[in-house]
Assembly symmetry: C2
Homo-oligomer: 450 residues x 2
């Protein structure tokens, strides 16, 4: 491993390789993440181009040294852990926009571009890339985990926004998955194979992404309900009626109180009840029509219990409450505790039931726990605060999360709606997919990385 | 090969295997298809379940007999050709809807279900699967070619509608790619790997498909333009302004005259000029707003040159003109001629240029040729009528199509927007993707089918 480090130092220059303890720690452990390993990389390398990544990969492969691609480090399932040590390839130095094709509505970027920066830069062309995971995330990591976020209800997931990828394969070969057509049926869908492969098949170094037109208008609605079941039932009703929502998010009463404790995301005092956040986008007329449909479908929620934002700043403050949920949790977390945050997804009709059951069960732990979710996709997140050094607490939370995953599988759902598998959920993936399907995935992995 | 046929007869019953010359011909050759091989299968087998497909596949693999999955036979690039003979597995007997999950908005079907039949059956639940290739197509073939059609502009392509697949691998193993969540980031995206793999990685026997809510209202607009360039420029303008169109289709003056010759799709007499067909769907208010936007963006097209359908039957007749384009062509085709129909896709900004150039060049052939396309996706089709027995004509058309594909590649496009590669475009795929990418695809193929 150290020979590989020296070779990389020689190839890229000393200043591009760090063996500082702080760097190693910040690239090997994350307080945001549920799963961390005790392993740490021996060095952090910072390439600036696809060619440099290829050079690094060739050296690592030659010396049989594990490689861990690292983006913004905001994933939550231990996706960038280094259980077998190795060399961490930090892509933050690859943060250039390579080409913005305004008329084609796509953009080519390096993997280390932050999506929020990218969207800010193309805003004036009235375009944006609609996926919205953590505001800190990089494009490369977003693709590697097939991320989504609150906009998935309207815009799908990351795989739907990839036009082509430049990937460095485990032997150092550089491939490009496609040219730049908006639609294609030429050959195997390598875009989709690498999207969500979590760095196991190659390192994504560049990507061309589709862009969407920024909606003329956005409106946010917030509705509170007496119980979690009432809230999820209302959500199902809106979905099934085809109300053109851009997003449909749920936060439970605990999460709402956390938001209040943490300053209310812009100073608002929220009702601490199960709450739906609704986003409407489009032209003025179409948006107002969707709002009218919503008011009709959720009767009795016309006044204080169904609020609509009228100004841009009010709108931002309402939505900020949802987007800042994880940070609010981290801020109110007592010392020595960590957050076990995880997500599952089930068919729409089972969502109310699984949210209700999971909430009851995690409530029984006697620990602080909360539920929030992208209910428009049947996807929800549960977060439990616990002391990782207390073995009893650790085991209890682990068992509770495990039961939630099993329940999702029994309901024909998945153990991961959008965070990926990482090291946290490896054991359950086999249960979800069965031996034959896992064997096929292994065969695919071997064919790319013999 | 004959031993395999006998074993299959024994396993499934004599009546499920046909060696009739008519059957063999209709499963080995298609007048709809540009590319046909001289090879023919030795027998047609008609399984009724995944287990039967698995039994057939095991026998074929044991006897090293080529297998050709066959759906509705409506593909156009020789996707079901049998150049090395073998056994044709006709999935038309697998035409059952296995489970309709209305509340989850998905449906599980066997591969031989016709999408138009399926949509008819679930209409009363206000749901539909929005892909619209040939009305004859089966779900299995639609997935195998990653089909799309006119609705792709709003609803994406087939890969976006697959929740899970049951696939028989080349060794006979049956796998299921996922359970039934609407969203998932668990493991490699096998749905996308098999979607568009054209039967080369396994045989799709069952699929769960996402469904969408039927739009409240549909309106069709038709606009004629003096030149092809004017029409495609108007199309780009609408796309770039973000007008929420459900579909945006183009037909040239030749195609419009073919429609007239063929009865005008409901008796209408069309203006024989380059024409855009626009589809608007949604609620009444949102649709009317989109129509107003369109009228503003295409000035001077308010009266006779931009027609909107006001009644359902008028709407159907307008859209029928577009949907029946291929049939209209087949109907007016002179004896002894065939249609060389193919599709390419390019970045949006290059569409006007490539359509114009391709039209000029095919015009120079002195043959009957026409252009139509899903311009909302940068995807268009060219059809040339020629006499396949005239070697000079054949070579001239082949060279012309070849130049069109090269031009699409120079413009960073693809040689196939939605029809797949089949046997017709194999040689060009390497040019599109490069050696390394093709090698990766080969490695994937080998890993699944050693």
């Amino acid at each position: 491993m150290l020979v590989a480090v020296r070779k990389i130092q020689k190839a890229l220059g000393e200043d591009r390789v760090s063996i500082e303890q702080d760097d190693i720690e910040s690239h090997g452990y994350s307080e945001w993440s549920t799963s961390n390993s005790t392993g740490r990389p021996v060095a952090i390398v910072t390439p600036r181009s696809t060619e440099e990544v290829s050079a690094i990969v060739k050296i690592c492969t030659e010396h049989r040294t594990p490689m861990i691609p690292f983006g913004a480090g905001s994933s939550v399932e231990g996706n960038f852990s280094s259980p077998f040590s190795g060399i961490c390839i930090d892509l933050s130095g690859m943060n250039r926009i390579l080409a913005f094709h305004e008329e084609d509505m796509n953009i080519t970027v390096q993997a280390g571009v932050r999506w929020t920066d990218m969207n800010e830069k193309i805003k004036s062309a009235n375009l944006f890339m609609p996926m919205d995971p953590s505001p800190t995330a990089y494009v490369g990591g977003m693709i590697a985990t097939n991320c989504s976020g609150t906009n998935a209800m309207k815009y799908g997931t990351m795989k739907d926004w990839v036009v082509n990828l430049t990937v460095v394969l485990p032997n150092g070969t550089v491939i490009k998955t496609k040219r730049r057509p908006r639609k294609s049926s030429a050959g195997y869908n390598l875009n989709a194979l690498f999207t969500g492969s979590e760095g196991t098949l190659g390192i994504i170094t560049e990507a061309t992404l589709k862009l969407a037109i920024l909606p003329d208008e956005t409106s946010i609605g917030v509705a509170t309900f007496p119980t979690v079941k009432d809230a999820t039932a209302a959500a199902s009703k809106l979905i099934r009626a085809g109300v053109p929502l851009a997003a449909l998010e749920f936060m439970d009463e605990v999460q709402m109180s956390v938001i209040n404790q943490n300053g209310g995301a812009g100073g608002r005092k929220w009702t601490e009840k199960p709450t739906l956040f609704l986003k409407f986008t489009g032209t003025k007329d179409s948006m107002n029509e969707a709002i009218r449909q919503t008011q009709k479908l959720i009767p009795g929620y016309t006044s204080d219990r169904l609020i609509f934002a009228s100004t841009a700043s009010e709108r931002e403050s309402l939505w900020a409450a949802r987007k800042e949920a994880l940070w609010a949790l981290l801020a109110v977390r007592p010392e020595n505790t960590e957050i076990w945050s995880t997500d599952v997804a089930v068919p729409l009709s089972r969502l109310a039931e699984i949210v209700d059951l999971s909430k009851k069960e995690s409530g029984n732990l006697g620990l602080f726990s909360t539920v929030l979710g992208h209910v428009g996709d049947g996807n929800f997140h549960q977060a439990v605060m616990y002391n990782p050094k207390d073995p009893e607490q650790y085991q209890a939370v682990k068992a509770c999360v495990s039961r939630m995953m099993r329940r999702a599988l029994e309901m024909e759902g998945t153990i991961s709606g959008e965070h990926g598998i990482g090291i946290g959920k490896k054991d359950y993936l086999k249960e979800e997919l069965g031996d034959s399907t896992i064997q096929l995935m292994r065969a695919l992995k071997r064919s790319v990385d013999p």
